[in-house]
Symmetry: D3
Subunit: 132 residues, 6 copies
Amino acid sequence: MYSVNVRDHFMIAHSFRGEVFGPAQRLHGATYVVDVTFKRGELDDDGVVVDIGRATAEVSTILDAFRYRNLDEEPSFGGKNTSTEVLAREIFDRVARAVQEGKLGAGARGLAAMCVTLRESHVAWGSYEGQL
Amino acid sequence: MYSVNVRDHFMIAHSFRGEVFGPAQRLHGATYVVDVTFKRGELDDDGVVVDIGRATAEVSTILDAFRYRNLDEEPSFGGKNTSTEVLAREIFDRVARAVQEGKLGAGARGLAAMCVTLRESHVAWGSYEGQL
Amino acid sequence: MYSVNVRDHFMIAHSFRGEVFGPAQRLHGATYVVDVTFKRGELDDDGVVVDIGRATAEVSTILDAFRYRNLDEEPSFGGKNTSTEVLAREIFDRVARAVQEGKLGAGARGLAAMCVTLRESHVAWGSYEGQL
Amino acid sequence: MYSVNVRDHFMIAHSFRGEVFGPAQRLHGATYVVDVTFKRGELDDDGVVVDIGRATAEVSTILDAFRYRNLDEEPSFGGKNTSTEVLAREIFDRVARAVQEGKLGAGARGLAAMCVTLRESHVAWGSYEGQL
Amino acid sequence: MYSVNVRDHFMIAHSFRGEVFGPAQRLHGATYVVDVTFKRGELDDDGVVVDIGRATAEVSTILDAFRYRNLDEEPSFGGKNTSTEVLAREIFDRVARAVQEGKLGAGARGLAAMCVTLRESHVAWGSYEGQL
Amino acid sequence: MYSVNVRDHFMIAHSFRGEVFGPAQRLHGATYVVDVTFKRGELDDDGVVVDIGRATAEVSTILDAFRYRNLDEEPSFGGKNTSTEVLAREIFDRVARAVQEGKLGAGARGLAAMCVTLRESHVAWGSYEGQL
């Protein structure tokens, strides 16, 4: 299995609901360093997993919808807790859709799986991995 | 599959038995930076893999049994080589037991798998991954 | 010159005033990984720059005043932009005061200088360095 | 599943063929930081995944064939694009052969799988993972 | 003294002249992860060291002149060894000129010093630091 | 001022004397990732700060005296606490002597200063910097 990873980041404000979150129930924020890993069994005709330039540009465009925002006010989350895991899944779904719509190139339709990891500090991260 | 990772570290002395270990047969030591990765197919009712606060606290308590010790004198290893791999497995087993005893919260019983990684330098690490 | 560094982190929400900040004028947030570096010409009687245990605990206590907060509502900033540089200086001043009040131990009064660095992503950081 | 990882690096020149590569069609170069991860279900008689000293030495010997070279002129690539993914696979195959020839010790024949990751910058990497 | 750092990278081919360079006399290449650190005694009117957005954009533009090139053929180096140190100095001079020409904003003229660091692998880096 | 840095590591056992060290008074150990930074005002005739190959080899030879040892039994420390700061200074002195003895090449005699940093975990490090 071949993999290729691109990295970007975004900074947001949010708060959590539920006693389990303790002081994180207050409005606070985070920098998320995002790793999107693309996977497939065989390389495409150019000898790559994905066109890394287009992948980087498309991931950046998708993250633009999150950059410098208060996620508590984003209708797409409808009041759901925007935990690191939930955000990783949301970004996974959006990149997966872009792959299916051909935005990463025709060759990217051969991708088998993807993993999105969000690093929120030097000691904690969350991720979502799934088939494409 | 969703994942969440917490990081901690501990510093120990030990020595290895077996010619293959060369100069590491002498009494020496190591800093191990520990990553514990929790995995599950679906998030719990709070929208997380595990209560990261409780996970961090429980991992820290488990590592207290290793901190600032000479592992050659720890009865729990019974003279076994405390290689990075063996230590990763030992910590895996102890965190797994804590999960089963409910110490990471009721929701943590839904965890599917776990991976424990011990980084011993900027160029080497070992890990153990298994089902829960 | 000897140095010792301890690391911690905190997560906050804030916004900036001034056109130069572009989209960062919106309410957003950040994770700051904080490095506090203590410096002195000669070691103290225990052969260290500072009691690293006390330094770690004191820095953590000082950062508690920032953790999981919306800095726009913190009276201590009085509407000032809480840029990375400004936050580094604020933390520098608070740790410097703790040193002078003896909270890091009597030996710490021999400290000559200090640097506080705040890493806000994998590509950007700010710091403030000064004499003690 | 147990894993052990060793790290090394090499620096090469190369160019790519294909419009998709844009300016990378020009002769340029890269530093690749190489992680070779060895995996197996049970530890060997010494309680390790692999003799880490021999693994480090053998990986270094294998990378000697790439160090400080212009890959466009290496006959073993026969004009194929030496993308990060292709290089990861090539190194995988060479280390796998060394394992089979007993160069990492008799115990290493019990290895189950391997992953070779090449980090080309702070924001991008590629890898190849397979059974042994 | 306040500092702010921005990070970027570029990938080039080159070779060195002089026996001291051993195998690096052959045509090879490198990824350089570039840190440009801006320093000043007091913050500007916006409470920052430099407009980080403009600094990032300007550094990127300056590095465009190096990206995906064979430095042996760049007339600006005139056959000089493009060691990590020499490249750090060259980039320092170009960013310094941009500061003086006002390309980082009027406030940037108050900058006191700058340091350019080029990381060429996980084990080696070089830098040039000077007054502005 | 130009700088060049080389990195290596070593693993040792030791214990500390003094109540301030708490549980670190027990025999334990550490991995130290070592950065040696060489500095000078002008480059040598080859356009470098120091012959990086010779510097790497010489630092490695100096660290051989520490690798896989119990520092409590090393006569050169004579019962002194081998804190991170003390070790950084000891390594500084040994590399400085090697520079003066010409072991890093004739050009290295033009070095102006040096900094030795020992990273003992992902959250703590110590260093010693001085003139040559």
